[in-house]
Symmetry: C2
Subunit: 211 residues, 2 copies
DNA sequence: GAAAAATTCTATAGGTTTATAGACAAAGAA
DNA sequence: TTCTTTGTCTATAAACCTATAGAATTTTTC
């Protein structure tokens, strides 16, 4: 399968990418276990058995789809963390970076989010580590915000990071169903919601509203 | 199956409830399509075929599990909406009510959240309506907060409601994995995060932080 | 304790699904 | 052209899974 020749790869994996995209689409639509290899083949207009030229097993296909779905998240977040700017601005960019992959590989991202738990043990562990690392980076941005005096000192950074990511992940459920939702708009609204809640609050205590 | 006698139902569905709980547990763990009726039977220590005394099909079991998982949400939210108090307080109670079912029927709730899309068309439509109604109620609480002058006038209530619910739903993923997380603590933190972001802000514009 | 109801069992039909083996075809490289 | 690589096909084994039928067993009611 893997050619060992020194140089002869004119079109390395163009078709392979199409196969993978079909798998991602079908896994996203019907769930990993709800999708059959026949379903994938139907999308491509080829025979079910032909798929096995591209992957060794359905689970291996899931692994590849998940890998692409997870790609870049940690790197983008790390870049934000390492950049300069206010913590508030970084939060915006974190959210933006978290949502952006939905634009060009929604199916992959959704499969990574929802189906990774069906990965075989080994790769599940690997993506588990990956996710925790990603969360850690997000958390570190919040912590830095606290350290810089920009966010309130009693902010629960861990919980807040999870909340932020939860909010972002939820967007996959309605991103293409809600009218007029764009990444920028979402990032702006989410940031606005969260940042005020994190910011050191020279704000009067919750006031009672008369009627 | 349904006794037509006038009165003789001493213990209606005690066993039935156990069967359903086992189904919920297995569906939650392995996903609807990843779970076999054999898996459910194993949990109960009975034979696979015996399950069909309790439900007509695997999908019917999913329907019942989802129904229990969705139970009470709209009612609780409606009660909050109809109650008196500040909008901020209502948000707290909305979140609390949203998270509370995780305490006593986590598996059902998780299955409702994640597997309802595999319901047959009819019941899927039904739960779709149910969910939209629930979202609508949450949104109405936010709108009321705006109308009362408590929340900022340009708040995107729809998006904010979705964000709130997304945050809440995400909690199911780590509720029993994160140490020291309780419903009260979550509701408190989430509310604090969101309410400040929604509240009319007599707050200075985001300040630059010098190093 | 006998009748009725509830619950579980055995056995199995019938369908679906993953995956393998090996042939066939096309297209580029030598 | 001939060889090689790439991609697809047919056919099928083997496993698995849902659901039904009807018998057997346990529990409840009278």
């Amino acid at each position: 399968m893997k050619a060992a020749t020194v140089r002869s790869r004119p079109n390395p994996r163009r078709r392979s990418a199409e196969i993978l995209a079909a798998a991602a689409q079908v896994f996203a639509e019907r769930g990993f276990h709800g999708a059959s290899t026949q379903d994938i083949a139907d999308v491509l207009g080829i025979r079910q058995a032909s798929l096995y030229y591209y992957f060794d097993s359905k689970e291996a296909a899931l692994e590849e789809v998940c890998a692409r779905g997870a790609e870049g998240y940690a790197e983008a977040a790390a870049a934000v963390a390492a950049s300069t700017g206010t913590a508030a601005d970084k939060v915006y960019r974190l959210i933006d970076a978290h949502l952006s992959p939905m634009l060009d590989r929604a199916a992959f991202v959704m499969v990574f989010q929802r189906e990774r738990r069906y990965l075989p043990k080994d790769s599940r562990r690997r993506v588990g580590r990956f996710s925790r690392n990603y969360e850690r980076i997000v958390e570190s941005v919040l912590k830095a915000g606290v350290a810089a005096g920009e966010f309130r000192r009693d902010l629960d950074c861990r919980l807040c990071a999870l909340a932020l990511l939860g909010m972002g992940n939820a967007a996959t459920h309605w991103f293409n169903k809600e009218p007029g939702v764009t990444v920028e708009r979402l990032a702006t609204e989410f940031t606005r919601l969260l940042v005020d809640g994190m910011t050191k609050a020279p704000r009067p205590p919750l006031r009672r509203v008369a009627a």
